[in-house]
């Protein structure tokens, strides 16, 4: 296998602080540059990553901090992003993924996080267990 199409991986552990939301999406954007994506494809992935990481900061860890495990895999022209936390978990995933659904008490959240992940990625999978945490895996084919 040539160096060009060998699968590659990036793993990061970030503190669940709101200032790391930008860091996470920019890091993924830089990593995916090797796939020669269009600007629109980079924006799509950045937005999806931002949504997943923000959910972890606000909901998974309830603003109390914790570790966000971010993993990005590139295989051929496909990018796979996994955002994992060991926070409170989601009791009802189907409900949480409904557009406009939010548990945010101050009402400043749109409830569109999961909808945006689904709109901008080809595939979104959510696994969660209350008290154990949540894993969000998102995949997208980059056509360039």
């Amino acid at each position: 296998m040539s160096e060009q199409n060998k699968p590659e991986i990036l793993k990061m552990e970030l503190e669940a602080l709101s200032k790391n939301e930008e860091f996470a999406r920019v890091a993924v954007a830089v990593f995916m540059a090797r796939l020669n994506p269009t600007l629109e494809e980079v924006d799509d992935v950045k937005t999806a990553v931002s949504e997943a990481v923000t959910n972890t900061v606000i909901h998974g860890y309830q603003g109390n901090g914790g570790i966000i495990y971010l993993e990005v895999g590139i295989d051929g022209q496909e990018i796979a992003v996994t955002v994992r936390d060991t926070g409170i978990g989601i009791p009802d995933i189907k409900l949480a993924m409904e557009p406009m659904y939010t548990t945010d008490p101050d009402g400043e959240r749109s409830g569109m996080g999961f909808s945006f992940m689904e709109a901008f990625m080809d595939q979104v999978e959510v696994k969660s267990a209350p008290g154990e945490g949540t894993v969000v895996t998102m995949k997208k084919k980059i056509n360039g």
Binding site: S18, T47, T54, G107, E108, M112, F116
Partner: protein, 113 residues
């Protein structure tokens, strides 16, 4: 560092909110408090959001826009947007904002309505 995320400008009864480069959850945290304060102390009939510096926006931006829309709708006021680039425009469209708020080409046009 410590540069304000939002800057505000008043023109008569219109409040212009200049949005930051990155309109995400982190940067949106102060907006509710600041606009609530401004709206309680001034007679504001229209809010104009300036996207001209914004290069990235996610659903956090939609949240703050929707809530300002609800606030203004209650008092019979209006909301306008100008300066949105391609990324912000796609988010505004998918988030359903363009059905609620009018998009203008320039600040002058957005203020005048």
């Amino acid at each position: 560092m410590n540069q304000p995320y939002f800057t505000y400008e008043a023109e008569g009864q219109t409040l212009i909110v200049h949005l930051p480069e990155e309109l995400d959850h982190h940067n949106c945290s102060g907006l509710k408090y600041e606009t609530d304060l401004i709206l309680s102390e001034n007679y504001i009939r229209r809010i104009v959001f300036d996207f001209s510096k914004t290069r990235f926006m996610d659903s956090s931006g939609i949240g703050i826009l929707l809530n300002r829309y609800k606030q203004m709708a209650l008092s019979g006021g209006s909301i306008a947007i100008y300066g949105a680039g391609p990324q912000a425009l796609r988010i505004l469209k998918i988030g359903g904002i363009l059905k609620l708020m009018k998009l203008y080409d320039s600040k002058e046009a957005a203020v005048t309505g």
